[in-house]
C-alpha cells in the first residue's frame, strides 16, 4: 500500500523517474539545512555591524560571519562521507528532480511561516497592502532564529551557493564513475562554481553593508530559499 505514495518509495525505484518529493529527498535536503545551521552558530567567525535601522533609532544588528569555515568543513565532510560510502554525493545528481521539488515546497512553506510570524507578532515592515507583493517582498526585515541565525544571511550563501557547488561536484564525480574521466565542460563549470562559492563564503561580511540586506529592501526568504536555489541549479545543468 505504501508503494502507491511516492513519498515512501525506495531510492532504487525513484532513480531518475519523476520529481516526486520522496522521503529520502526530504531527509537529505533538511539534513543539509540543519548541518549548515549548526555550522553557522558554532564555527569560528567574525562579527560585523549591519546598516543602521532608521525605524529603531539607528540600531545596528550584529551579524556573525563564518561561511568560509562552513564551506570547507562541509566540503571535507561531504567528500569523507562519499568515499567512506556513508552517503554517496552522487545522490544529488541522481535525484535532482526530487530534491528540486523538496526545495520548492520547503521554500514556500518557510516563506509562509516567516510571513505569518511577522504579521502575528506585528513586526512587519513596509507593507503596501497588496498581499501578493507583500508576500514576495517579505514581511519581516530581519527574521532571526535565536540570537545569531539570521535567516536572510543564512539563505544568502549557505543554502544556494554551497548546494550549487555540491551539485556540480556530484555531476563531476558521477561522470568520473561512469566514464572514467571528467569532461572539460563539467570541469570548467565545477571550477567556476568553486570559485564563486569560495568568493561568496570568504566575502560574507561584505554582504552585510551592501544591497542584499539593506534596510531599504525587505528582501524575501521565498526568493532565497526556493527561487534562487533552483535558478542557479538549473542554470548549471
Amino acid at each position: 500500500m505504501l508503494q502507491r505514495y511516492p513519498l515512501f518509495l525506495s531510492d532504487e525505484n525513484s532513480k531518475r523517474k519523476g520529481a516526486a518529493p520522496t522521503l529520502s529527498a526530504w531527509l537529505v535536503f533538511w539534513s543539509y539545512i540543519v548541518v549548515e545551521a549548526i555550522f553557522y552558530v558554532t564555527l569560528p567567525g567574525i562579527q560585523v555591524k549591519g546598516l543602521p535601522l532608521k525605524h529603531e533609532r539607528n540600531r545596528r544588528l550584529s551579524y556573525y560571519c563564518n561561511a568560509v569555515w562552513s564551506f570547507y568543513l562541509s566540503l571535507v565532510l561531504a567528500l569523507t562521507m562519499h568515499f567512506s560510502g556513508l552517503f554517496k554525493i552522487t545522490y544529488i545528481i541522481d535525484h535532482y528532480g526530487s530534491l528540486m521539488s523538496v526545495a520548492v515546497i520547503s521554500g514556500f512553506v518557510i516563506s509562509i511561516i516567516v510571513f505569518a510570524q511577522a504579521l502575528i507578532t506585528g513586526t512587519e515592515h513596509k507593507m503596501t497592502g497588496y498581499w501578493v507583493y507583500d508576500f514576495f517582498m517579505g514581511a519581516p526585515l530581519n527574521p532571526r532564529i535565536g540570537k545569531w541565525l539570521d535567516l536572510k544571511m543564512f539563505a544568502e550563501v549557505r543554502v544556494p551557493w554551497f548546494f550549487l557547488f555540491f551539485t556540480t561536484l556530484a555531476a563531476a564525480i558521477r561522470q568520473y564513475e561512469t566514464f572514467g574521466y571528467v569532461t572539460p565542460q563539467v570541469g570548467i563549470v565545477l571550477l567556476g562554481h568553486y570559485l564563486y562559492a569560495n568568493a561568496c563564503a570568504k566575502g560574507e561580511e561584505l554582504i552585510v553593508p551592501t544591497w542584499y540586506l539593506s534596510p531599504l529592501h525587505s528582501g524575501s526568504v521565498s526568493n532565497m530559499c526556493a527561487g534562487t536555489w533552483q535558478l542557479k541549479n538549473s542554470a548549471s545543468c
Binding site: Q3, A19, G97, T121, F136
Partner: protein
C-alpha cells in the same frame, strides 16, 4: 523611536481604533472625552488610553502625561510620513516631483488611506505607490512561473538530452502539457 504599547499591539486588533486627539491634548480631564466611558469588558480595545485600568494591562500603568507623550511621538511620525518616509529613499521623492500626476495619485492614496489605517507607525507601511518587479502582477507571475520554468528546464535536461522540448506538430497543446506534467508526476511502479 520609543516603542509604545500601541506599536507592539498587532495592528489588526486596532484597525478600528482612532486616536482621540482631543483627549491627547488634555489627558487629565476625563470629562471632556466625547466617547462615553466604555464598559470594563470593552476597555482593552477602546480608545481611552489615558485611563488604563490595572486589569486591562500587565504592565504597571504609566503616568497619563508620559503615555500621552508617547502617543504624540507616534502621531508625529505619521505626519512626517509623506515628507521623509516615502519608500525610504530620495529617489522616489525625485521621481514623484518630476511627474506631478504620479505625485498626485501617490498623495491621494496616502490621504485617502483606504488600504491601511492611518495610525500605523510609519516604517510599517509603504504608501509610496512605487513597486519593484512589476508590482503584484509581476511578483505573482514570478512566484507561479519560476517553479514551472525550473521543472521545464529540468525535464529538458533530464529526459530530452538538454534540448528544449517544444510542442510537436502532431500533438495538441493539451497533449504537450500532459506529456510535460507526466515527467514530473510519474510515479514509479515496483516493476520498473
Amino acid at each position: 523611536m520609543v516603542t509604545t504599547r500601541s506599536q507592539s499591539v498587532s495592528p489588526r486588533k486596532r484597525k478600528s481604533a482612532a486616536i482621540n486627539y482631543a483627549q491627547l491634548a488634555n489627558p487629565t480631564s476625563s470629562t471632556t472625552t466625547p466617547h462615553p466611558t466604555p464598559s470594563p469588558r470593552k476597555r482593552s480595545t477602546a480608545v481611552t488610553k489615558s485611563k488604563p485600568t490595572p486589569s486591562s494591562t500587565k504592565k504597571p500603568p504609566a503616568s497619563p502625561r508620559k503615555r500621552s507623550m508617547a502617543e504624540e511621538i507616534v502621531v508625529q511620525a505619521d505626519s512626517h510620513d509623506d515628507a521623509e518616509y516615502v519608500n525610504g529613499s530620495a529617489i522616489a521623492n525625485r521621481s514623484a516631483a518630476k511627474s506631478p500626476r504620479k505625485a498626485a495619485t501617490a498623495s491621494a492614496r496616502g490621504v485617502s488611506g483606504d488600504h491601511k489605517p492611518k495610525n500605523k507607525p510609519a516604517h510599517k507601511v509603504d504608501k509610496s505607490g512605487k513597486f519593484a518587479f512589476g508590482g503584484p502582477v509581476g511578483t505573482g507571475a514570478m512566484m507561479i512561473f519560476f517553479p514551472i520554468l525550473m521543472y521545464y528546464l529540468w525535464i529538458c535536461s533530464t529526459f530530452y538530452g538538454g534540448k528544449l522540448e517544444v510542442k510537436r506538430y502532431s500533438e495538441t497543446w493539451l497533449a504537450f502539457l500532459d506529456r510535460m506534467v507526466a515527467h514530473v508526476t510519474k510515479v514509479p511502479t515496483v516493476l520498473e
